[in-house]
């Protein structure tokens, strides 16, 4: 299903994108044909309009056979036509230069396929699950103002049957994370339509790709404000409100319709996010709001602070989010050892990571995705960046809860790929 959708989408994109190229080449061809026919007409006019010229020219300027072609360009042309022809030649060069430049720009906008492929193991409370996963991303620009992009995830977690039974059980899952069309309407407005990641706090939009997040697991509060499905179906308006050297502001507001389609599941909701970024201090603060508009109407609020202290390799990220029944926060810190050693060295490729999480439950709700009881969790991770876009993630987590404490061990290897959809000439 996904494959057929993607292939048909690719075919449409390829068809659409091939049009301008064809039209450019056709314009080139028709332009050169017109130029040639104009030149022939000119020559015919030079000869037929003034027959005497031709006769006299043979008298005045006897032509050598070897100079015949040259004479057609220079010697036979009247002086006023020479200037015109020089202008034509210059114009032709200019047009050729512009066409080449246009082609160059066009060449930068080839649709791309990116994503990650990985293998993750997770041992949670003594039960181990193996998860092969692939998450492809397609981005295809159409014209100068439209971008169609989509990300999917295919995973097939399998684990031992347990209870003395041999073999494994598995559960294949395929789904679209988003499939959206972006219209770059102006400097400050981008209109998004389709299925898109719900813009609430930061994790869902920024850190959920498997090749980006420092931990394999999402934070415990990641479902707050994202309306359980993480995706919305409808429209979104987003962009940069303003940007100066000292501060920049961005925003995103959306409305989602209820959808029960298997691939485009969403709840009727609305909300938005706004954030301020201070480049000097490398500090970002933001707030999010969401309102569920179906069944029980609920509000969700979120705040986030990201800080990268200047001239250090430390990175701090944090989020606080709260729903009607539960809330919580997470704080994550990572430090790149490339600060001490070259990023290509053995030591420089390590990245220790730490995350602290806590959730608070005010009322029971089995559907909000948060733990049923107040929970604290500490995650200790160590990532290693291999060459060729391969990263190894390892982590140990200790979860404390009134329902019981447990250890979570995770390892994973992820390869990130990024290439054009077709090879260049």
């Amino acid at each position: 299903m996904i494959r057929s959708m993607l292939s048909s989408a690719c075919q449409e994109i390829v068809r659409d994108l091939s049009r301008p190229v064809d039209s450019v080449s056709l314009q080139h061809r028709s332009r050169s044909v017109r130029a040639r026919s104009r030149l022939n007409e000119q020559r015919a006019a030079d000869i037929s309009d003034n027959a005497l010229t031709f006769a006299r020219r043979s008298h005045d300027m006897p032509l050598l056979k070897s100079d015949e072609s040259k004479s057609m360009l220079i010697a036979e042309v009247p002086r006023h036509n020479l200037a015109r022809r020089a202008i034509l030649v210059a114009l032709a060069f200019c047009v050729a230069s512009m066409a080449a430049a246009a082609q160059e720009i066009q060449d930068q906008n080839v649709p791309l396929i990116s994503g990650g492929i990985g293998f993750v193991t997770s041992t949670n409370g003594g039960n181990t699950t193996y998860i092969p996963v692939i998450s492809p991303l397609l981005a295809a620009p159409i014209g100068n103002h439209i971008l169609v992009e989509s990300r999917a995830i295919i995973l097939d977690p399998f684990s031992p049957n347990g209870a003395g039974k041999p073999g494994y059980n598995s559960n294949l899952f395929m789904g679209l994370n988003y499939l959206q069309a972006d219209l770059l309407a102006s400097k400050h407005f981008t209109v998004v339509a389709g299925e898109f990641l719900t813009p609430f706090a930061t994790y869902n939009e920024r850190l959920s790709p498997i090749w980006i997040g420092n931990f394999q697991d999402a934070p415990l509060t990641s479902s707050v404000g994202t309306m359980e499905t993480d995706s919305s179906v409808g429209g979104m308006l987003r962009g940069s409100a303003f940007a100066t050297d000292h501060v920049s502001a961005d925003y995103a507001v959306y409305f989602s319709a209820a959808s029960t389609n298997q691939q485009f599941t969403a709840e009727r909701a609305s909300g938005g996010r706004g954030s301020l970024y201070f480049p000097t201090g490398r500090l970002e603060v933001g707030a999010s709001y969401g309102r569920q508009l179906q069944n029980v109407h609920e509000n969700f609020e979120g705040f986030h602070v990201w800080w990268e202290p200047p001239n250090t390799a430390l990175r701090l990220r944090s989020e606080f989010s709260k729903g009607a029944h539960a809330g919580g926060y997470w704080v994550e810190a990572d430090y790149r050892l490339s600060r001490f050693k070259n990023g290509e060295s053995f030591v420089g490729r390590f990245e220790p990571v730490f995350r602290m999480q806590q959730t608070f439950r005010s009322r029971p709700d089995s559907n909000d995705g948060l733990p049923g009881a107040n929970t604290q969790q500490a995650d200790f991770g160590l990532d290693y960046r291999l060459p060729h876009e391969v990263r190894i993630n390892t982590s140990y987590s200790r979860e404390f809860s009134s329902t019981g404490s447990r250890n979570i061990w995770q390892t994973g290897i992820v390869y990130r790929f990024l290439f054009p959809t077709w090879r260049g000439k």
């Binding site: 200037a83 022809r85 060069f93 050729a96 791309l112 970024y277 876009e389």
Partner: protein, 100 residues
Amino acid sequence: MKSTLLLLTCLAGAIAILPLCAQQADHKASNQASPAQVKQASSPADTGRGEQVFKQNCARCHDAPQSFSPRISGTVVRHMRVRASLSEPDERAILHFLNP
């Protein structure tokens, strides 16, 4: 005089088109370009702002890809403009940084 004029015109046109041909030849010669390579190839003044914008916006979430084809640099930057809510000047600066 006439031939000199025409020759000069042709020369001017050739000079105008040669850099583009050279640029295309460079692209063909090196299918992969990394931001680091790009940084070395262009002047600090040209790439300074683009690099700064890249660090402040894109690198906050993820590392730069080690290498990618220059043919998708426009698509990458447009994707980032939507994801990171970049302003139009910032988009241009990053595009210049990735593919000057």
